[in-house]
């Protein structure tokens, strides 16, 4: 607790007069079990715009925080399906159907007979369909992960506070953002302090 006052001293002096500049408040913990309990308490208190910052994966923390399963797998599944369809259309149209179409520019399929096989030969089209499925699914998985996480992002308020340097080493943090509807200045800080943290402080935006 003495440490807390020490820490609050220097950075928060400036922020007191410019409240809208505050990104959020954080509480610092020393062990996975402590942050686990804190996460459960914050979740139970009904906060929504908050996160846990930990130096390594803590098993079960997602469940303690009440995070819903990601929708990424569903997006990836349909992206893969799209890849299959695009590949099959591309091959069947270009190799097997002489039909003029207008796809940005006028194009036409060409009936291309290969080694006496039927024009639409499913076995020949499967390798490309397979590869396109994988390609679409992979690129979508990576791309959607970036978009959903708001990446790439060059700056984040947690980079700025000196105490949060240790989040990549041996300390565990709970950060509640000020935009959370349940955030009340003073009360949220008091609530965090009730969780027995090492320190509580504001984060500047």
């Amino acid at each position: 607790m003495t440490q807390m006052t020490m820490a609050t001293n220097e950075p928060s002096q400036e922020t007191t007069d410019s409240t809208q500049q505050t990104y959020g408040v954080f509480a610092e913990f020393t062990s996975p079990s402590k942050i686990f309990k804190a996460a459960e308490a914050v979740h139970a208190a009904g906060y929504r715009w908050w996160d846990c910052l930990v130096p390594f994966p803590v098993h079960g923390l997602d469940r303690a925080m009440g995070i819903k399963p990601t929708v990424l797998p569903i997006i990836v599944f349909f992206a893969g399906l799209t890849g299959t369809m695009v590949a099959l259309f591309l091959q069947i149209y270009t190799n097997s159907i002489e039909l003029p179409l207008w796809l940005l520019v006028p194009v036409t399929g060409y009936q291309f007979e290969v080694s006496g096989k039927p024009l639409i030969s499913a076995p020949a089209f499967i390798p490309v369909a397979f590869e396109m499925t994988i390609l679409f699914a992979c690129l979508t998985a990576v791309g959607a992960m970036f978009v959903m996480n708001g990446l790439p992002r060059l700056y984040h308020p947690v980079f700025r506070h000196p105490r949060l340097m240790r989040l990549s080493d041996d300390r565990f943090f709970v950060v509640i953002e000020t935009r959370d509807p349940k955030y009340v200045r003073g009360e949220t800080e008091a609530f965090l302090e009730s969780l027995d943290p090492e320190a509580v402080d504001r984060l500047e935006a």
């Binding site: 098993h59 076995p123 390798p127």
Partner: protein, 468 residues
Amino acid sequence: MTAHQVADPRFLGPIGRSMFWAFVLIGLACMVISILAGIFFTDGEVFWKSYIFAFIVVVSISLGGLFFSLLHHLTRAGWSVVIRRLAESIASNFVWLWVLFIPLWILMISGQGDILYNWVGEVAAIEAAHASADSTEASIQLVALADDHSTGAAHGDDGSHGGAHGHSLIEKKMAYLNVPFWLIRSVIYFLIWGSLAWYLFSNSVQQDADGELHWSRRLQRIAPVGMILYALTSTFAAVDWMMALNPEWFSTMWGVYFFAATCCGFFSFLIILVFVLQQTGHIKKEITHEHWQDMGKLLFAFGIVFWAYIAYSQYMLIWYANIPIETDFFLVRQLGPWFWVSIILLLGHFVVPFILLVSKHPKRQPAAMTVLACWMLLMFFLDIYWLVMPQLEDSGYAMAKIAEYDQLAKATADGTISTGYGWHVVNFTLLGGMVCLMVAGTIYRLRKCALIPIRDPWLPESLHFENM
């Protein structure tokens, strides 16, 4: 059968005794029925083909157990410790499985092997021709033999198939494909599988007593060598026992295909075994939804997706090149009723289970996974059946050449030319008998030790395992 009767859920307890005897009795009864039915109601071919089909099913499941145990030690895996003892027990069936192979040894030694493997007769004829004192006489005989072999070719201009040079393809394969070497190879397979399985099982059980690390280290040292031996022997066994049913045909994918089928059978069987054990109150806390999910992943990855990948790779290369000697295998499998079996395999072994299992949620539901595992086990049986049984009347290759495809399709559809299709009671009784005996053998091992390696150094890691 209720949970509260189990004294220690880590041991099989008294229920193992009744289960063991039940499976032994059912298995032996099925075998006796099969032998009687085989003697009185079949020609030998149906019986022996059913026999090799059922035998390969039990060998596959046991080989899967061997593969999984070796893989565990090879990668020094942590999560799979709680299911490793089950895999070891399934694998240790190799200690006695060779007994079921004795009838095949007798068949081959007695010179009647031609009933099952039609190369046996041809090799014998070629050898007899070679043995004749007069060399000119021998060469005449050889030419006659080659002509006899490719009757169809004589009418056409196709010289690519043996006849032109006076040598049949079988003759060129004789250095490998002869009865003594076939017998020696099968002895080697069983020696390697039996000793590997026994080494894995006995070291693991000895660790239960003292929990010393060096038992694990011994197994980790043997694992790479064991894995190489496993890969070689299972490939060659697949070639010897299944591919040799159609001796002129070949596929370099065959060993891998057999491996994929093996994994499908083993992981399905393992999932069902875990479900039954948990339903009877065993290892409920030890094997969690996390382990269920991983067993589901392995069944999905190896048994469904990898199987389809290999099956398709084999099919596509043959389909694309379209060389008669290679297409022979798929020709018979798209004629008559086999066409529908092939379609069922495509949909039931890949498309439907792929869609059902691609998400992680069903993998974490033991009941749903068990239903799917039962289905995949049936598909695995059908897959092996589909590999072993189809056979065009006479030589498939010759038939394919003399007949136009449309004629052939018509003749096989109305049954004038047999495709080897026909459900016979021995298909089921032999399969049931051997699978029951294998289950009994697995339970016999599990009765002698804990259901999980109770003092394995990696056990705590496995117990606390979580998928991220």
